[in-house]
Point group: C2
């Protein structure tokens, strides 16, 4: 296997995927710091809005690798880490290459500018997978090149675009994903399918999204709560997709304080939100199949006798990433537009 | 993310999985060479029986990383590489850690002993994920420790055991895997499911196995050839699992020269072979569900209307690895014994 720029960038991309969706409204970004030719110092990602960017996490861990008991260890605020590194780097990064999946940000927002930090730390080279198209944040590369830091753009661009895709969509309109849990052979009925760990992940997603869409029949049959209690998160706003507007108000989802629930069969409403999750089976997928960006498949490693062949759907996807959630699998699929 | 022994061992394990089954009758083994604390020099695997072991490939690539135009580049024979490295290493490996998924072999077979090679190169440390239980090859660790090379055994042992599992089975009896191609929603009918790249992989497997088992109804309906023509490989011996012994002899599989075909409903025959692949759908799986070690699922990223709910199977698995074959997915599942 070749140990080259692509190898290191892939490590950064894989690390970023661990936090896909969880950084909303920020993009998911990964960063790897390599000293000399191939000494890996750190592999980090941006984890949550308001928290340190991927570059900051990676530069901090890289510095600590050589200075394990440095006071830097105690800092977690981005402004403090920036300030500390600028003051104490002592040319440590001069022989380092920084691999980052997205062009370092060029502006001061909730956290300071990564391009400015890198400019002062003067690494040997910055390899960027994908340009930042955001008007506020862009031109990090320009800032670096003006400081005579060698930049390379486009390494693993396709994979970085896949990673960035949800951000590009919610940043310019609406990103809609369909979440479905199933067995290996595609059965989705018959009680609990996912493990508690996977359910906790779903609750984390519910905590992040702007809107949860669910079918009226599922609400009537399953009587769900649709909150984020497993992670002590915020219950999302709910749109029940239904023509009939009458529901038993004793269904738990109606009982969550301060949560808005709309009952409607108008799917245009989805476009009023930036980050939308749909929970359902194949019937609802059939209705929404032209609307979704991603299908997120949670697969439990079991074969079960069950119903799943009623669907009359033909849909093509591209697998853009897959990962484990404990002993189960999560597959990220982008809908192919025919 | 922590850059530690586990991180490097995982790279070795993942590299080895790329060649799972293809090394038969040898085990699938991976090796990573790290200089100093975290400078990755090489990530390699054993690729085919008779060819260089993982350690030899990794040591060669590591040496070439610092000596890119060395004559070593031109060598591919294991004995020559061993001899060359022993003669020219010039203490290059003294500050290196070698991560290997299986204890280095201690005997001279088709290739020379890896433990002996390492003993002479004197790396700082050898980290071994899993002991070698093979009577001929074992005790590599002992050889290394007698040469005062620090050894650590058991790093990622569970993952290394999963990787080694097919070898342990075929080495002591029979390893049986069930290969199935399906869509995301589990449909398996309706013409061609897999891409040409995935089909070529299946043909490579057919070239390696001792016996291919297929159901009588599939033979009658699909009239398959069951050879390895996509990779110009050897067509495997075939067992048609059927109570009725009369078949149309014009079916292509019967026309392959020098290939043995047996028609039988006696599944005990499978135990006369070491490495057995079963190709079929859920009906045959139901019959064989207590016999198989692995389910190898080839998944195409499509949802299709089709039949797949006739099965009445309840089976539990552990996902032990997953990978891409081009744009499709391969999932390695080990059957859970209840």
């Amino acid at each position: 296997m070749k140990i080259d720029d692509k190898f290191f960038m892939k490590l950064a991309i894989n690390e970023a995927w661990k936090y896909q969706f969880l950084t909303y409204p920020n993009p998911s970004v990964g960063c790897v710091v390599v000293k000399g030719d191939s000494e890996i110092l750190s592999i980090e990602a941006h984890k949550e809005v308001g928290k340190a960017h991927a570059e900051v996490n990676a530069l901090k861990e890289a510095f600590l690798k050589y200075h394990p008991n440095d006071v830097l260890k105690t800092l977690s605020n981005s402004f403090e880490i920036h300030e500390y590194l600028i003051k104490h780097h002592n040319d440590f990064f001069n022989d380092c290459t920084i691999y980052v999946t997205l062009e370092p940000c060029n502006h001061v927002g909730k956290t300071p500018s990564c391009a400015n930090l890198l400019k002062q730390l003067k690494p040997k080279r910055v390899v960027i997978a994908h340009k930042d198209m955001n008007n506020q944040a862009k031109d990090g590369q320009k800032t670096l090149e003006e400081a005579s830091i060698e930049c390379e753009v486009g390494c693993m661009k396709k994979e970085a675009y896949d990673l960035l895709y949800p951000f590009l969509k919610w940043n310019s309109g609406t990103f809609i994903f369909y979440k479905m849990a199933q067995t290996l052979n595609g059965t989705i009925d018959g009680g609990k399918i996912s493990s508690n760990q996977t359910l906790a992940y779903v609750h984390t997603l519910r905590d992040r999204i702007d809107l949860l869409v669910i079918g009226g029949n599922t609400v009537r049959t399953d009587r769900p709560t649709l909150d984020a209690r497993y992670v002590v998160g915020t219950a999302p706003e709910v749109l029940i997709y239904s023509q009939k507007t009458i529901f038993d108000t004793q269904i738990p989802l109606f009982k969550i304080p301060n949560r808005k629930v709309t009952i409607s069969d108008d799917l245009f409403k989805l476009l009023d939100y930036k980050f939308v999750m749909i929970e359902g089976g194949y019937t609802l997928l059939e209705k929404l199949k032209e609307k979704i960006d991603f299908l997120i498949l949670l697969v439990t490693p079991k074969i079960r006798n069950g119903l799943n062949a009623q669907n009359i759907i033909d849909m093509d996807f591209e697998i853009i990433h897959e990962n484990f959630i404990g002993k189960e699998k999560i597959i990220y699929l982008r809908r192919k537009v025919k």
